[in-house]
Symmetry: C2
Subunit: 583 residues, 2 copies
């Protein structure tokens, strides 16, 4: 674990969980070691360590000694080549891999053909967190299934059977007899039954495969980004969060960009979008990709626009295709493509409060208006998909007409685009491409459900990926919070990934503290949604922290929290003595 | 406007709206003056000022020159005496008012008797915000109703008719013909239809009276707190927020306590609970009451416990009654009484993760266990109510068994107490007392609805007043956010008031910046709920701010926000030039 990690996460150690189907799969987790409980009779009782999902990759492993110059180890290189469907080509900017034949080389294609890839097993283990360990403990202790005591059976039941609906909801009235023990770490509330979610009690590689085959989940993992640790975006998995990075016009060095990436994943960003602009866009992205253990997303139209000197009128299919290929060969894992914004929708933004606020949307709307032609991303969709399929880039279909204010939420322009996103989703799936759909934006709370429900229906349950949504416009300076409220609500309803906003949203560029505050805020919103969806690994951490709090194990409370350093510093301000932290 | 106000809210001025039924009613509002819109042809278009709900009382009026030593003007003194039902008595600590006869002197009693008090008209005007002004503008311009043009009729319709269900929801499919103009400041989304809310399109004094008579709302306003500006807590009004203040054991001066009050209401706290402890508890409260334009709440059992030297066993009815009378005569507007925690519920907390976490609940549970007797607040409920009725103190029935962790949410102990809160509500109403019910606490998102629904049913729609709820336990240091997520959700469902938590919750005592961050965070959560409930005055401010943002009127965007100073400073950090703020 590096210095930042040590400082931020005291009491933690890195562990790796091996795969069973694919023994070279090694899933990293952070394990928080807890102190003993002091019992009333003066004896102590040990507390098991708690395993936490860890996005930081080798950078979070104390034993790792690499540098940004070297880049990360190519974790997936052998997996990718062993499938025998890729070949090395000498691309303009160095050799890279692409599909050797006509077939897609995507996780979707493999899933549809019944394969369980190492990537899928990696994801299954990752989503189970400590449950894997708890299982193993029972099996190690009672290898003979027949002589297993009842107690062991109860533990296995708790691990594999979804919690039954709460005793209170089930009963006619309610009464003391319906009381269940809440003081067990494996207690978990029964989840809500919502259309969007069908959470399993235990994640198996088969489950991951089936979700990907159904299009309900994706694993963004370009064959040219072997450094990437597989993760799933889908409503029946943990809610994920994305952080944006990017150099500003005023310039920031490449090293700074890599450090921004490390900082975002250190706090828990599951994916990172690189929105860099300017001259060094290719080199910056190269550094980011070679040092990123999380999937990297981009918006290729931004770079295409750079190539034509910022003149929207000069954009066109050829430049876009070349840019997409360039990024494909570099290893970008997912791309936002604003292909669903049709020319005929543009005039329906005329009576909006805030017009078109998406940068990509604004570019494509301008281009269509200038040339009086249909959006070239729409007319070239099938060609885009065949490029994506040859590198396993996932597509995130953009919502160029997302509302930029509460007033514009769920209007005709927005929903018309969503309907086209659905058509494009189906066509991308047919080409073997992994797909998600981008969503708003600014939406008051009571209009969030409509967004989620229409997306589920029109886009056939493809994962939804929203920005916020921000539930009011009146709190600039606090928009990480207005976005976290909307994010938690739409996450609960099945939104698969939340794009963070920082407190500088609408105002300026975020600094390191803004990124930290933003990522942690979205982590807590995503976790709140996981609890409500009934993700089987979610409540354990709450339980462990609550128990530590109740027993005045302050250090454990801090160490189990999303931001131990901040929790500790707030405590130390008013109660700075060490003895105020114990018992 | 004092210096703090000038600094925090530039571009604002204080205005007063007079009553019609009661001409001496003068409702304060803050009016944000906007700059002109620059039109494409180079001409300009003026923008009307926006009126904002203002909790700061005389302290927010630049013309006010009083000091904390003097105390605020006794705004309500004449109203209270003119009802002819109170008499002055020489209480131990100075003269005060109490009911002259047997009848309650409560707003509930007046409402049930069909009276519209000045307090009720004050509330109606306050909740209408700028709508009052918009009305007046139409009537002033077209005094003759018959010669009124269509345009005027449309404005009046927009002001008085609830928005129709969104065109998109109503239509079979959706199409361009269903597009409505979103670029008007009076555009408001149709509200959700929920059991908890029946929002009127325009607030009349009659509506306020009827809500109070039905028990769905209250106006906490002790006859001995004439400085209090009336405000309503009820699900068909703006969602309110409460901030707690209180000296710590380590001590803070009385002046500091008054300043804490002013700071909290400056940012928008609708009520303040004084949780002070220690020797100067009476004097501290006196200073706070005499300087508070917002209702002050307390938890009298805390002071009662001080009187018996902190020994729970020594508590009893007599000491509690004396304490309650002392606070009644001083002018406390509402009191939390943990009367619904029955002895038989206590052992149902044994298998909880975090036991009993409410301080008042813990005191009463201990007392009951020690004496093996029923909670004396329960057994003396009718006597408590007759004291409350004689001063118009509202009662906030405490939830002593609220969950202290996600694990303990909605368990038997909690819900059993809620059911008794319902019984006590009915009995308090019969005594003429205004009532609300306190609620949790720590609740995962999907269990929030059950809290709200059972409270509506069991407590017969009496206003609900919750602490958070906090939707996860894993984010100490960010619990203002976990609480704001739960608060927005339960506010949307009809919770009438949210008790804020600061980011220091569970960790330490909040400082000024924590209070500011906490109040603003809860303001935005409450406002998000107001938008979703369809409060008719809510969306205007979002629209005005979004329009300013779209037109690059930066100063207007800052000045319309909840925390203009912070928004401006975040902007200035990266784009510090004045010309970056205009156009």
């Amino acid at each position: 674990m590096n210095d930042t990690a040590k400082l931020s996460y005291p009491g933690s150690r890195r562990v790796y969980i091996p795969g069973r189907l694919h023994p070279d799969v090694q899933v990293p987790m952070r394990e928080v070691v807890l102190s003993d409980t002091l019992l009333p009779d003066g004896t102590t009782h040990p507390n098991d360590p708690v395993r936490i999902y860890d996005c930081s990759g080798p950078w979070g492993d104390g034993a790792y000694e690499g540098s940004a110059e070297q880049g990360l180890p190519a974790l997936r290189a052998a997996w990718i080549r062993s499938r025998g469907d890729v070949r090395e080509v000498g691309a303009e900017k160095g050799p890279c891999l692409q599909a050797a034949g006509e077939n897609p080389v995507t996780q979707r294609h493999y899933a549809l053909n019944g394969l369980i890839t190492p990537e899928m097993e990696f994801v299954a283990i990752r989503e189970n967190l400590g449950r894997e360990q708890a299982f193993k403990a029972v099996y190690d202790r009672y290898p003979n299934e027949k002589s297993r005591p009842d107690e062991a059976g109860e533990i296995l039941d708790a691990l594999t059977v979804m919690p039954r609906p709460s005793e209170l909801e089930a009963a006619e009235g309610f009464g003391p007899s319906s009381m269940v023990a809440r003081d067990r770490l494996d207690h978990q509330h029964a989840p809500e039954r919502r259309r969007g979610c069908r959470m399993p009690a235990y994640f198996t590689p088969e489950f991951v495969r089936d979700e990907i085959a159904a299009g309900r989940a994706l694993i963004p993992a370009n064959i040219n980004h072997p450094e990437c640790e597989p993760m799933a975006i889908g409503r029946n998995f943990l809610v994920k969060i994305n952080a944006n990075i990017g150099n500003s016009a005023l310039g920031s060095s490449i090293e700074e960009e890599v450090e921004k990436l490390r900082w975002a994943i250190h706090w828990g960003a599951d994916t990172v979008m690189d929105l860099s602009t300017g001259k060094n866009i290719h080199a910056t992205r190269e550094w980011i990709l070679r040092n990123s253990p999380v999937p990297i997303g981009t918006v290729p139209i931004y770079q295409a626009l750079e190539k034509v000197g910022g003149k929207v009128a000069d954009l066109g299919w050829d430049i876009f295709r070349d840019t997409l290929l360039e990024q494909a060969r570099q290893g970008v894992d997912y791309v936002t493509v604003h292909a669903a914004l049709l020319l005929r929708f543009v005039n329906h933004t005329a009576r909006r409060m805030t017009g078109i606020v998406s940068r990509g949307g604004s570019i494509m709307a301008q281009w269509s208006m200038i040339h009086e032609q249909e959006n070239f991303l729409y007319t070239h969709w099938d060609e885009i998909c065949s490029i994506l399929a040859a590198y396993d880039i996932a597509v995130s279909i953009g919502d160029g007409l997302r509302p930029g204010s509460v007033a514009d939420a769920n209007d005709f322009a927005q929903l018309a685009e969503l309907e086209i996103q659905g058509d494009l989703t189906m066509r991308a799936w047919r080409a073997g491409v992994q797909v998600m759909n981008e969503g708003p934006g600014h939406v008051p709370m009571h209009l969030i459900a409509e967004n989620m429900n229409k997306q589920l229906e029109w886009c056939m349950e493809a994962p939804f990926y929203t920005l916020g949504p921000l539930v009011t416009d009146i709190a600039p300076g606090y928009d990480h919070i207005t976005g976290a409220i909307g994010g938690a609500i739409i996450g609960q309803r099945g939104c698969a990934m939340l794009c963070y906003v920082t407190r500088k949203e609408h105002l300026g560029l975020p600094d390191r503290e803004d990124v930290r505050e933003g990522v942690v805020t979205y982590k807590l919103a995503a976790h709140a949604a996981d609890l409500a969806k009934g993700h089987p690994s979610a409540q354990w951490r709450d339980n462990a922290l609550a128990q530590a709090r109740f027993e005045f194990r302050w250090e454990d409370q801090f160490n189990l929290s999303l931001d131990p350093q901040k929790a500790r510093s707030y405590h130390d301000l008013t109660l700075p003595h060490a003895n105020a932290k114990k018992a």
